[in-house]
């Protein structure tokens, strides 16, 4: 790439260890103005640690970082922000009660004689948003924004900060297709203004579309840096995982068994209405639909997290009433949420403690926990699901996203469910872990479990499901068989 320009960032032999474990091992990296440089690697490859070092959040053990030719020492967040490095985080931090304008200029307010000059604040913010092409009133309070809107505002904030380097960590994970287009357009504009972008994403399509160069990390080690046109999807994947993955889904054909779950006329006003479907043993039912179509809401209602207004839920032919997740789990229904952090695991508890949390009664006598039994079963689960942790006592907060997801699935499986509902089971997870989770789902379905998969990724829905339920604006528009389903057909019914 642009050998002409001078590097804005140059990183040499960066090392970082955490309590004796190497998180980064001789990392090399360079970045030119006006380039989009993708940083690729599985979860746990060291991308986050590396970005944290660039942001000055943690200090490296050794190695050098040059910014605009100047060696940076004693980095801290403030210094890096001043130099012009901004990061768009996966989790967005906005003050909910403040307006968009107030959030954009938080900490950099225009002072009037005594009060903050709100008028100028609004005006400048509106100009900024118009410039980028975000159609939004700057007086809107942050709490009313969608995640996608917040993400775009964060980018606006970075631009207003005169950022020379913007780090984008999974910026598109919450965006719709239309919003993604806007993001790519913004990125293009930024490039033309000479802003350098470090782009982290698990979506390979995006990378090949927008990245100029790609640097791959694996297990904390620097693997290579290549121009995007020197790579294709398969070669990139094998660089990331260090081996070839042939068939991502490798689903088998199976014969469904008896009806496990049946819902009739399921309605929650404003969310979904008259939902009617069956799931059989040895079957994977996919639920597809656009964001806001009511997919997650249906799952939450079946699992007892939300109340329904009307409708029936039958389990193995018997009508059941579910008032809480506890009821659902006792009946044999378990739900793995799309929001791991909020509903999935307890960050401060260990691997064991999380895995057995839904089923502690089976590991106890008269209220006392039988640690040996608990450890034995958990370590079996850790082996079966190939969970990578420093030990069974490691806190789950310190695991990578893919392993956290496996912990949540392990916890669900340990309740010996009849029906497993997986909501976006592979969101934000690297391709290796994805493959393992798909294998696991197939294996579980083949062994007789009824599975519901909710996903925004159509290839995932198509690859995994035996039948596909399509929702549009809270209404059920189709149930498609595997043979008749295609991306086009699903989209047709999803925008019905």
């Amino acid at each position: 790439m642009p050998e002409s320009g001078k590097q804005i960032i140059r990183v040499k032999d960066l090392n970082k260890s955490f309590s004796g474990i190497k998180a980064l091992d001789s990392i090399q990296f360079d970045l030119y103005p006006g380039e989009v440089h993708a940083l690729m690697g599985e979860n746990g490859a060291g991308k986050s640690t590396f970005m944290k070092i660039l942001m000055g959040l943690i200090l490296p053990d050794s190695g050098s970082i040059n910014f605009n030719g100047e060696l940076i020492e004693n980095m801290d967040v403030h210094k890096m922000l001043q130099k012009g490095i901004s990061m768009i985080h996966q989790e967005i931090l906005m003050v909910p009660e403040l307006t968009v304008a107030q959030n954009i200029f938080l900490g950099r307010e225009f002072k009037g004689r005594v009060w903050v000059d709100e008028h100028q604040l609004d005006q400048q913010s509106q100009e900024l948003l118009n410039l980028i092409g975000i159609d939004l009133n700057v007086k809107t309070k942050a709490k009313q924004l969608s995640i996608a809107q917040m993400q775009l505002i964060e980018i606006a904030k970075a631009i207003s900060n005169h950022a020379k380097v913007i780090i984008m960590d999974e910026p598109s994970s919450a965006l719709s297709a239309k919003e993604c287009e806007l993001l790519f357009k913004i990125i293009k504009d930024l490039k033309s203004k000479g802003v350098a972008i470090i782009y982290i994403s698990h979506k390979l399509e995006e990378i090949f579309r927008i990245a100029d160069r790609i640097t791959v990390l694996r297990d904390g080690k620097y693997i290579t840096t290549k121009n995007t046109n020197e790579l294709d999807k398969n070669s990139l994947i094998s660089l990331m995982v260090g081996r070839e993955i042939e068939n991502l889904f490798d689903s088998d054909s199976r014969v469904p068994g008896n009806v496990i779950l049946e819902v009739k006329g399921l309605t929650k006003k404003g969310k979904f209405e008259h939902i009617k479907f069956q799931v059989h043993a040895r079957e994977v039912l996919g639920i597809a639909g656009l964001m806001g179509a009511g997919r997650t809401e249906i799952a939450r209602a079946i699992f007892g997290l939300d109340k329904i207004d009307s409708g029936e839920i039958l389990l193995k032919g018997h009508k059941i009433e579910i008032r809480s997740p506890k009821d659902a789990i006792e009946q044999g229904i378990v739900y793995v949420s799309e929001d791991r952090k909020a509903l999935g695991f307890i960050p401060e508890l260990s691997v064991i403690e999380n895995i057995t949390l839904s089923n502690l009664k089976n590991f106890s006598k008269r209220g006392f926990i039988q640690t040996k039994k608990e450890t034995k079963v958990s370590s079996q689960m850790v082996d079966d699901l190939k969970i990578k942790a420093a030990g069974l006592k490691q806190k789950v907060i310190n695991l990578s996203g893919g392993n956290q997801q496996k912990i949540v699935i392990a916890k669900a499986l340990l309740t010996s469910p009849a029906l497993l509902i997986l909501d976006e089971p592979t969101r934000g997870i690297d391709i290796g872990a994805k493959h393992e989770i798909y294998k696991l789902i197939n294996q579980l379905a083949n062994n007789g479990l009824a599975v519901i998969i909710i996903s925004s990724e159509l290839p995932e829905i198509l690859g995994m499901s035996d039948r596909i339920l399509v929702l549009s604006k809270g209404k059920q528009t189709a149930i498609l068989n595997k043979q008749e389903a295609s991306q086009e057909k699903i989209m047709h019914y999803a925008i019905h």
Partner: protein
Amino acid sequence: MQYINNIRQYGLLIVFGIICLIISLITPQFLTISNLTIIVTQVSINALLAFGVTFVIITGGIDLSLGSIVAVSGVTSAMLAHPDSYPVLIPIIMGLLAGLLMGAFNGFIITKSKIAPFIVTLGTMTIGRGLALILSDGRPVSNLSDSFNYLGSGTVLGIPVLILIFILVFVLCSIILNKTILGRYIYAIGGNEQAARASGINIDRVKLSVYSISGLLAGLAGILLASRITTGQPNAGAGFELDAIAAVVIGGTSTAGGRGTMAGTLIGVLLIGVINNGLDLLNVTSYYQQVVMGIIIIGAVVLDSLNQKSTS
């Protein structure tokens, strides 16, 4: 998590050891059996409250009504403990019941109304103080039976009954927190309440349990205090909840919930006792003692947060 907790606890233990060493070097009276017995006896009431509220704080809650519960239970038991009235078991049971009921009331309102524990227990604090004054007609309840007074001043095999109860309660609370389902659920709820609910945990039942335990132990503390001062004082216990919370916080329990240990609280309680005792021996007036204690509370939390940063 055990591993990191251990490191943190040892850190606190080292600080505790250093402070003991310094005090014993300055004042030779410090390291004597009789003085150490005095310290442990003095902190035992605070210890019971602190152990109880440790459960509450790990769930992410708080209990400000402890001092008032001490008064209600103290007055209740004292009123039933006059010589030749009831067997000594009756005032004890009724005192414990008073504490348990007030704790359960806290738990019930918090779970059903979803009002912040801070507000609910602030209300109960005022209600409890009023109840204690109503029950006793605003006057100290004295003339208590010898067998009742034995609890607070007697000894078994030369060891004060208070200290024996203190040790027993510590062991029981540690077992509940570390070995039982309830203990695991307490950590889970404090760590991530929504995820705990989605894991099938009955959140309301656990919260009801922790506030009930906290109330019950405050009830026990109230009985022991009444017995020790041979009077049921309706004004007793004012501000006790803050000492208890201070001990818990010094012991490394996070007020945000999800993290903390009974052993940490034990050390927190002892640390407060040792410092007060040391300052007493050095003839430092109680005015200065309060300033020192405040500095220690803040210092402990600052140290803990630095510790957190370096381990994460």
